[in-house]
Amino acid sequence: MKKALIASAALAALSPLTAAAAERTLTISVYAFAQDDFKTLVYDPFEAKCGCKLVVETGNSVERLAKMEANKANPVVDLAAVSMADALAASRAGLIDKIDTAKLADFAKLYDVAKDPNGDGMSVGYTFYATSIAYRSDKMKIDSWADLLKPEYVGHVAFPNVTTNQGPPALYMLGLALGKDTPDLKGPIEALGEKKDDIVTFYEKSSQLGQLMQQEEIWAAPIGRFSWAGFTKLDVPVAWATPKEGQTGGMNVLVLTKGSKNQDLALQFMDFWLSTEIQTKLAEKLIDSPANSEVKLSEAAANNLTYGEETAKSLKLIPSAVALDNRAGWLKTWNEKVGQ
């Protein structure tokens, strides 16, 4: 009985502390990518600065958005890092709030394309990337996206599956090269379907490409610039293509959950992530290309990332609304023409 009383008293004494800690807990939802580096460079310094606890949830976009949807009435996550298109999907589903950019000290430093990527005030870009073709410079020369389908090259190509983040942008550029650039991507998917038996694989994970390139299984593959550093370490000569149609890519953004009880803390964290110091550290580690225009990079880092306002402006991005409205149709056409 005495022990029970002591335990109860201790719990009672601790409960205000627990409540205080709970009030200062920020839950973020991010990609599972480079989390050890993020912990060192972003999460731990922020926790030290704010005196709060950061809870990090990771997973792919669909899983994380599904979880946000399931907890819509009582949000668990306060801030999420998602793709531009997923941010628009979350906005349409009423899952996110407008961002009070006046509370972001470094907002003005962002490249214009990152300030309001979807034009609805619901997201802020924190990184963007170019997508082009990594290719064996000793085996081939890539001047156009259409070169991937040349008879002498097509048997050595890995193309991103439509289900990956790189798939639709690569198809969009192939469509431009073929003169068939409709939002439904029917032209490039059909062109790819005609060559599906020749193409080595329609890859799901860019991490498997290095090994395939090293083994001479493939000579070329459209990839995001964030994967490029790995290719430069291979024992074979690999080049980054600058096709005449240009480069495509994508942007990842930060969003605030609607109904979150920690929006001010979430905005502080967003501001911290977008600061020149943190963006520089993430870029120098080759984790994320900076969206902050004041970031100055070493030559080595700049060569491996998508860097600079001109580069950002030149990327031919698929508008989020187009991606969102056509996703199901792309998959259906792909499965009909390529998947069978």
């Binding site: 669909v62 694989t201 329609f202 001479e216 299984e217 069978q340």
Partner: protein, 275 residues
């Protein structure tokens, strides 16, 4: 052992509650998705699924590959198990250790090893070009053949172990007796070994067939989207299209196929036994 039935039930209750809450209930909720159209019960999701050419192709491919892997593993498994049970005790232990060794290695590592082995510069292609069978390396990766090899390597140990256990329990003089009575080796296998080891074949066959149907990593890595299987299609439906109804339909189809395989194998075994 127990004082009464209630005592036994009480002991089983925590595990039963745990299994119900974390497994049966979520699975039931997921599977129910496929039988609803709005608020009404309906089979329209199944009709939609089988009306798609791609879905039918993937279903048939998954079923066919499952059967092929099971059949080939049974043939290789019988030969290997028969050889192992006839070894002296020391050798038998070593061989069983070798058979179980791959089971201790992650399927991911085992599957990725095949990328190196089956690649253009891998040992298989080196042997093919070295022997002059082909001037150019063959494309072996991202084909049905690669998926078949990967699945066979993944599940063959389960078949061998099941058959070793069954052969160990077979009367030692059954084969010599059949031989003395004039049976050739095929007759010995068909009329003596197979009926006496049918339980092992049913267990092994069920494990291999079910494993082949539900394996994800091997078809995804060695086949990719060029060789879609039901489980890779299910992942695609969830992760890209956010279509949990289709995923539920595929999950239910896989469960039915697994149960059907087990029932069919048992029936075949008992039918042979009755004869």
């Amino acid at each position: 052992m127990f004082q009464n039935r209630a005592e036994a039930l009480a002991l089983a209750l925590p595990a039963a509650i745990f299994a119900t809450v974390v497994f049966l209930l979520p699975v039931a909720i997921l599977l129910s998705e496929g039988f609803r159209a709005g608020s009404a019960w309906s089979l329209s999701a199944y009709a939609d699924f089988f009306s798609g050419t791609l879905n039918r192709t993937v279903f048939l491919r998954t079923f066919r590959l499952g059967l092929e892997v099971t059949a080939v593993s049974a043939v290789i498994g019988y030969a290997a198990a028969f050889a192992i049970v006839n070894l002296p005790a020391k050798g038998k232990g070593r061989m069983i250790g070798l058979v179980t060794l791959p089971l201790m290695i992650s399927p991911v590592a085992r599957t990725y090893a095949w990328i190196v082995i089956l690649g253009r510069t891998g040992i298989v292609n080196q042997a093919i070009t070295g022997l002059g069978l082909s001037a150019e390396p063959l494309r072996l990766l991202f084909t049905e053949t690669a998926v078949f090899i990967g699945l066979l390597q993944l599940f063959l140990p389960l078949m061998i172990l099941s058959l070793i256990s069954a052969l160990e329990n077979m009367p030692k003089d059954a084969i010599p007796a059949a031989r003395v009575l004039g049976a050739n080796w095929f007759q010995v296998f068909w009329k003596v070994i197979l009926p006496l080891t049918r339980e092992g074949l049913v267990v092994g066959g069920t494990l291999v067939f079910t494993g082949s149907l539900t394996a994800y990593i091997t078809p995804a890595v060695l086949g990719g989207s060029k060789v879609l299987m039901l489980e890779t299609l299910m992942y695609q439906q969830v992760s890209v299209a956010n279509d949990f109804v289709s995923a539920s339909v595929i999950a239910f189809i896989l469960i039915v196929m697994s149960f059907a395989a087990n029932i069919l194998l048992k029936r075949l075994a008992t039918a042979r036994n009755r004869r």
